[in-house]
Subunit: 337 residues, 2 copies
């Protein structure tokens, strides 16, 4: 049996591309007021979701998104064989507690905001490899839990800099199957950790852009496809500052990102919403994918999508010790055919 | 193509069992003074490993263990296609920074102390699924970084209770390949998150034992093999308190653990070393596997090993909010043949 992925090649191509048979998104009030509000399944009225802490609200959001995605196919959690999930909170508690309630065999991931792609590509390999027929890939983030863990408690009202991003309150879950009808994952590129020595905790876009460039370059190189192959190449959460850097890095590599390139962190909010550089968080790419982007694929407005979810592997402890902020990006190609 | 894993079945069986072709372990001074000191590759002289913080020492330990495991096969990091790693620190920083230095395509995992099994079983599926020929599975923990993150700074000299465990300073890395000579991963069981409402942050063994029982039961049930099939069933880090609970839970399930059952947390230290219930941490199962256990397999003293790495998905934030401590356990069957 020849391996599908050789030394020096970061991209895997699926022989029987796994199918995204259903998906769901739940977002917070601010995301619901944004330009894509009508494309999400459920817009929360507040940040507590009936719980007594923000962390418990985040956990509930993830759990309910998984159940909602399954229910669209008339499935229960028991009907899926593995849950692949991760989130931004220490010890990925939103995912652990969601897995506890759901009772599904669980593989916990940590890829910061790249998690939706890490979960999808790992799940796709498990399905195409013949180990299971149906998995759920899921992730989430919550504005208030992430801000207080990584930066400042939101109640403190710290003035953000123009390069800061607004952590998205949102969750996305995808049911991925061996058989079924829907867009398919045709290939995926596993990212490397790239660190250009950025150390500003208020500028994650600059920390992640070089990793996005590295993964996009590897993807097009490994598959030997033209840079306009996809209808849309969309990064996870570089936001305005990071997106501008990525565009310049891609041009330097001979790839022409425009006009088919955008970023979920730029798309998810309107400039009038006071989010500075744009959106961020595991939920940013996840709910844009599980809301507007897959909706456009079903309508045929997008037929070839490359989702490049980006993660800033930022740690307050490491930053206090003088470390810089490494980035990672994983890419998943989703195609109608 | 029929899936190898069906609804309700948590265990995958490998068609071409991936081979553990080399491995390495690095441990701290205390582990080196324990009963298996002669079986580890490298015993550190102190907890700093030439770095200026414990966290940086932990990151270096993981990185050097990966390089050491590869070097035994005359391989460089570039020769392996994916690094699967995770650790106990927030944002899995030891793994992220090790992946940065190693430059390998990287999938970050979080399974607390179950990580060595999560990495091995995921890597085995990627290899047997035909996606790569060689991966590295690795994890680590450090006594001082874990204690201060999860409980108290060690300088504070807090008096431990008898149920506490001593977080192992150690790292283990395994090179897993499609082809080669060595013990093979024949099957694996993906765990579920189990929570019996234990909430004592000083008693991780009790929190993890029910998850270990659940996974062991699923493993023997799914494969329909007798409970004495393995020469050794070894859990990750239940230590004395958790091991006693697991033995009773297994008997209740009709499985007879003795005389072929032990626990890495019980084995790794001698009672005279003042570790209370025993060892714990991602490094506990990892360096026992990559030290004495695989050495015994090579000598033929063990031919069939079931490693059940156990993780307490404990979060200080969740505990402060009144949450209990969920556990998870993943099992990997390693056999000579």
């Amino acid at each position: 049996m020849p391996a599908k992925k050789k030394k020096g090649i970061q991209t895997v191509v699926f022989e029987n591309p796994p199918v995204l048979t259903s998906w769901a998104s739940i977002v917070g009030p601010k995301e619901g007021e944004g330009p894509w509000g009508g494309d999400f399944d459920w817009i929360l009225e507040d940040y507590m979701f009936g719980e007594d802490t923000w962390e418990k609200a985040e956990n509930k959001m993830l759990r309910e998104t998984v159940k909602l995605a399954l229910s669209k196919n008339n499935l229960e959690p028991d009907d899926a064989e593995i849950l692949l999930a991760g989130d931004l909170l220490n010890q990925v508690i939103s995912s652990n507690f969601a897995a506890r309630e759901l009772g599904m065999p669980f593989l916990g991931l940590y890829g910061a905001c790249s998690t939706v792609a890490e979960a999808l590509l790992t799940g796709a390999m498990l399905i195409d490899g013949g180990f299971c027929e149906r998995i759920v890939a899921a992730t989430c983030s919550h504005h208030h839990t992430a801000e207080r863990q990584f930066r400042f408690p939101t109640e403190q009202g710290t003035q953000p800099t123009p390069s800061t991003q607004w952590t998205v309150t949102g969750a996305g879950a995808i049911v991925l199957e061996f058989l079924g009808v829907g867009p398919r994952i045709t290939s995926a590129t596993i990212g490397r950790v790239i660190d250009m020595k950025q150390n500003d905790m208020t500028d994650m876009g600059s920390a992640m852009a070089p990793a996005a460039a590295d993964t996009i370059k590897a993807h097009f190189h490994d598959l030997d496809i033209p840079s306009d192959y996809y209808d849309l190449v969309v990064t996870g959460d570089l936001a305005k500052v990071g997106m501008a850097i990525l565009e310049r890095l891609l041009v330097r590599e001979g790839l022409t990102p425009k006009p088919n390139y955008s970023d979920c962190g730029v798309l998810i909010f309107d400039e009038s919403q006071g989010v500075n550089s744009g959106g961020s968080g595991c939920g940013c790419a996840a709910c844009m994918l599980c809301g507007p982007l897959l909706k456009k694929m079903v309508k045929g407005e997008i037929n070839k999508l490359l989702l490049v979810a980006t993660g800033a592997l930022m740690s307050p402890t490491a930053s206090y010790q003088g470390e810089t902020i490494p980035g990672i990006a994983h890419a998943v190609a989703i195609e109608n055919y």
